[in-house]
Symmetry: C2
Subunit: 678 residues, 2 copies
């Protein structure tokens, strides 16, 4: 029988008995500790460095000695000799630090696996709950060294590479995995085209990038350790691209651009309409987004100092219309009853089929859609926030021109969508503007003096505290619109029905061109030379938007038999900037403990990044989206009634205990059903 030795791996504390003479890396795998390696254990990549700790470890009743492992090999010595800076920076000595693929165990040892050598790397994501994401990308790289062909063994280039690759994969991944999955290795046709010349140029020493353990998509001369991928959130307004290192998960660049389709229509319905009315409409919208994506890819590659052809995968999300336009699928049935997408499940398609300028053999993965108005962006949001793993019932809301809502927990998820109009994003509001320098972002109104104060993007502090605010204000962005309406209500300037109280004495409350209004900034404070008011019309716009959103949330709650959600998660840029309390005060979101309302930023983009970095997450969201129940609001008979009730502040028939202290004493007429007719 073979002799056994005790080994302990830190910091995991994994321990066990291993056979005499096996390498530390193999031993670690046997104990369930993955150590990186991409050079097929050739002492080339150095990814598998470990430290041999010396001394008596009482806690484990164990003596650990450097003599208990094999001596430093010539290859190891050569590897470290080429890296004096690394040793100096880390304070390591050769002999203490070893390549675990080379170092054999001949006695008891305690081994320290430094962070950078650990397999199954993780990145940390801030979310409603902070959590770690394991790095398991679709692309893995392997160093393959072959003997050149000769007349005795004139085996073809691909078969030679495939054999070498099999050996490398077996070493890196372990034999067990190999048997079950690697028997059908293929090579992308375009990649095959340059294979012969690359192998010869590389003198039969190449790095092979394999997609999903089954297709070779890149063969590079020599040794390369990093590969790259891009995650993209295609919003109707903005396209955001994140370039990531697929090995470490590190984000190397984040670029964004306006969605160029905006010139063909501001919202999805008008873009769908454009494709119906123009024969070349679809082609134009498709080409526009592809061109923008290529521009973003180029920018990101430049920022990260890599070549776009080294980007080997791309994961994209977007609402169903963006999804169809990206894929060059006609979106007309998304906009016509019964509102059906062309496809729910995720799509994998070669970059070259879409004309996307990453490596031509690279894969484009588009997350699954849930419904005509609940798209791949919602799938991504679910993936990022994981309501399907919770005991509590979470309400996820992604607010844009359209709002998508998902409610539920690990037992059941329901979803719906509702058009909210552009008011919440600052459009169609008289002085509304994008969140840019010069935009008011916060508004507070003194309920006694009825005087306002505000903050402006690009300037510190409140306007009333600084003289240098003069001439800076240009308009009102989304978050300040919510603030403004909430403050008008809190100060009693508008009543719970949204109607101006014209009896209050303040020169800011006045009849303007289009009806009653409240002046927030006088002309001399602005850069546009005009007073900036919030108008009755603006208030009405917000009422319609928030009623739609609230009714959608209430419908989901009712269908799920719930009174209120345990947590509310606001996704999207809008959610990050609004004041949660004020949003609740106007009844934009259901009542909830304020601490349980989270703004998580671009959850769709995060979901895309998670799917890019972890292939198991793609399978997870694929199966989750198939179980999500969809409700179409207009088919709910109660919808119109509920909607009318929901237009009042905070709501005509719902208690809002968590913001009750902010509601002014004047109570709206509970029967005033026709207030909107004014």
């Amino acid at each position: 029988m073979t002799k056994k030795h005790n080994i302990i791996l830190q910091p995991s504390g994994s321990r066990g008995q291993v056979e005499e003479g096996i390498s530390i890396r193999s031993a670690a795998r046997d104990l369930g500790v993955e150590i990186e390696s991409i050079c097929a254990e050739n002492a080339t990549c150095g990814k598998c460095m470990v430290l041999i700790e010396e001394g008596r470890f009482e806690k484990y009743n164990m003596d650990s000695r450097r003599e208990n492992v094999s001596p430093v090999t010539t290859e190891e010595a050569a590897y470290f000799a080429r890296r004096p800076k690394l040793l100096k920076d880390k304070g390591w000595q050769v002999g203490q630090v070893r390549l675990s693929c080379q170092c054999k165990i001949h006695g008891d040892v305690l081994i320290n696996v430094p962070e950078e050598s650990r397999g199954n790397k993780q990145i940390v994501r801030k979310s409603a709950t902070q959590r770690e994401i394991e790095i398991k990308p679709a692309i893995r790289k392997y160093l393959v060294t072959m003997s050149p062909p000769n007349l005795e063994r004139p085996i073809a280039d691909w078969e030679r590479l495939a054999k070498g690759l099999e050996t490398s994969m077996a070493l890196v991944r372990g034999t067990e995995e190999k048997l079950s999955r690697w028997h059908e290795m293929g090579i992308d046709y375009q990649c095959l085209r340059t294979l012969s010349s690359t192998l010869r140029e590389a003198k039969w020493n190449v790095t092979v990038s394999v997609w999903q353990d089954r297709e070779v998509v890149q063969v590079q001369a020599g040794y390369h350790e990093d590969s790259y991928g891009a995650a993209v959130d295609i919003g109707s307004t903005t396209v955001a691209l994140y370039l990531c290192n697929l090995r470490t998960g590190e984000m190397l660049a984040a670029e964004s651009e306006m969605n160029p389709q905006i010139v063909y229509g501001e919202d999805v319905m008008s873009r769908i309409q454009y494709t119906i009315e123009h024969k070349d409409g679809l082609e134009k919208l498709h080409k526009a987004i592809i061109a923008t994506l290529n521009k973003l890819l180029k920018q990101a590659a430049k920022t990260a100092k890599i070549k776009t052809e080294d980007i080997l995968e791309m994961v994209l999300v977007g609402n169903s219309t963006m999804h169809h336009l990206l894929l060059n699928l006609h979106p007309k049935d998304l906009g016509l009853a019964p509102f059906v997408p062309a496809i729910h499940r995720s799509v994998d398609v070669k970059a070259r089929e879409l004309g996307l300028h990453i490596n031509s053999a690279g894969n484009i993965h588009i997350l699954p859609t849930i419904a005509s108005f609940v798209g791949a962006d919602t799938s991504a949001m679910i993936l990022a926030e994981e309501p399907h793993k919770q005991e509590e019932n979470w309400l996820l809301i992604d607010v844009g021109t359209n709002a998508e809502l998902v409610l539920g927990n690990r037992k059941r998820l329901v979803c719906t969508s509702t058009p909210t109009g552009p008011a919440l994003e600052g459009a169609h509001v008289e002085y509304g503007m994008r969140a840019a320098p010069g935009a008011m972002e916060r508004i507070v109104i003194d309920e006694n003096t009825l005087e306002p104060k505000y903050k402006v993007i690009g300037v510190d502090g409140w306007n009333i505290d600084h003289a240098d605010f003069k001439g800076k204000v240009k308009g009102i962005c989304g978050s300040a619109i919510i603030d403004g309406v909430a403050e008008l209500f809190r100060a009693g300037i508008v009543d719970s029905r949204g109607k101006f109280n014209t009896k209050l004495s303040s020169n800011r409350i006045r009849k303007g061109e289009s009806g009653w209004e409240y002046v927030i900034a006088w002309a001399e404070e602005t850069s546009i030379g005009r007073d900036i008011p919030m108008t009755q019309q603006d208030v009405r716009q917000i009422q319609l938007a928030k009623a739609a959103l609230f009714t959608a949330a209430r419908t989901l709650l009712k269908r799920s038999g719930l009174e209120s959600p345990d947590k509310i998660i606001l996704a999207g840029g809008f959610g990050s900037y609004i004041d949660k309390e004020k949003a609740m005060l106007i009844g934009l979101i259901p009542d909830c403990v304020l601490e349980n309302v989270y703004a998580v930023g671009n959850a769709a983009g995060d979901g895309a990044r998670i799917a890019l970095l972890n292939i198991e997450k793609r399978r997870e969201i694929e199966s989750i989206t198939r179980t999500v129940e969809r409700f179409e609001l207009p088919t709910d008979p109660e919808f119109q009634n509920q909607f009318m009730l929901a237009t009042s502040f905070p709501h005509m028939s719902e208690p809002f205990p968590h913001i009750a202290h902010l509601i002014p004493n004047r109570v709206a007429d509970p029967m005033a059903k026709n207030f909107m007719s004014k």
Copy 2:
């Protein structure tokens, strides 16, 4: 317990007990008899017609009555009502003929399954052994009828189709198969692009073409039963395309064109050279063959009266250089030691990737290569002739500018190739020409008078029998060159070393411009106004070619420990036209019983067609080619010696018992080693 009934299926004679009430088609499947159906048992396609035989069948001790099956349904009646001609032609009556998917069994019956309804159709192929090829194409069609989406079930188009398809496939194929293979059904991206509009245009009633049970490649409105494929043999000189019905195996068109690459070089080496010497060489040669293939596809579709977009698959074969040029792979390493192809195994690639104008989602399958000079055409020849299934040892020879040879049986196959030069095809022979009108195709020389007679393509009979031969002859084609040399030898005009016997008295033997020659046709017999001789140089060319071929065959025999092959199979146009006896007399092929020498025509093209029609054959040849042993002749130390000995007629050191009676008494000097130096 359910009641059971006895059924008998003719002509197979399959019999057994089946459950009360099941359909004849299901019952037949249970008894191992496949009945066609592509309409998912909707009484639409009529592929599953059977005849209910009436009467007392003593042999089986059974009464069969039409009353023992369910009455004709409305759907069946409607189906037959639309086809009065069919019933009349066949002499069938409704009630006697039934759709087996509709007709339920309620008692004992004897059922006749007509040829056209039987599943697993076969075509018969002439070969060295006549045999049947089962039709199991990669493409199968299914009729899918869906309910349209509505607001209650707004499931996406692809998922709706996939679900309907699953139902259809289960009905057509049986449940057992389904569970194991159909869980990963996908759809080609380009096919997805038009899915939504097709489904609506078709009112949710479509025919779906599925490739390899796993990818939807075409969705057609309404019911379609036939799909089409093309098999292509890309020769260095000629490209031949066969358009087939993939359901019936029927060949609908056969078209051929010159290989356009010929302008860049006559043989493969000169084309490889062209790609090395010209930067755009590969691109030019690749585009040339693609353009010719597209032309052939168009012609064939026109002949068959179908659309090229209804061609859903293409199988191509060719030598390794043709293979590389087709795939746009650089062929330079095919021509340089150690002579390695880019890839051995078969390649599947989308038609659109190669710019081939069949359906853009269609698959292009290219058979595996065996070595640098033993290509996919040889794989196809093996597939067509099946030496790997024989007990006997067969020698397969495909003769062209290059000859490929395969020897062996089910235990072992060895192969090699040898350049034979263009002489055997009539090129580089002074009056050589292609097999076209005006070419001599047969030559006989009277050994007493030394006078010749000949046959000419396009004219019946021998020249000496008809006055109308005058002025018709233009040159000598390949088969007549073999005849001519063999006859010169048989008549003693040249000796076994190939040297003219200048002492014979005949005005036809004379010293010409380039040495001694024998005049076959006088100027007045020709259309070119000049004497047509065979020259010493012509005889030398044939000697070199036949020595190369013979030495290759001998090397394979020696390596396999065999004295002689049990059968010789000559593939290619050349093999079909030559006189087997004369080929053996000059020692072109090894000695063998003459009846066991077969000419099988374009075996490569046949192999391509077999692979097109039967997907299991693709797997078979894939695994066979991996076991074929390759020998490179120049590495054989005996090669030069053997080659020299093989230049003499029939051979300097081999007995040829089967043609010994034809060898003239004059015996060549066995030690004359330097005879070629003359």
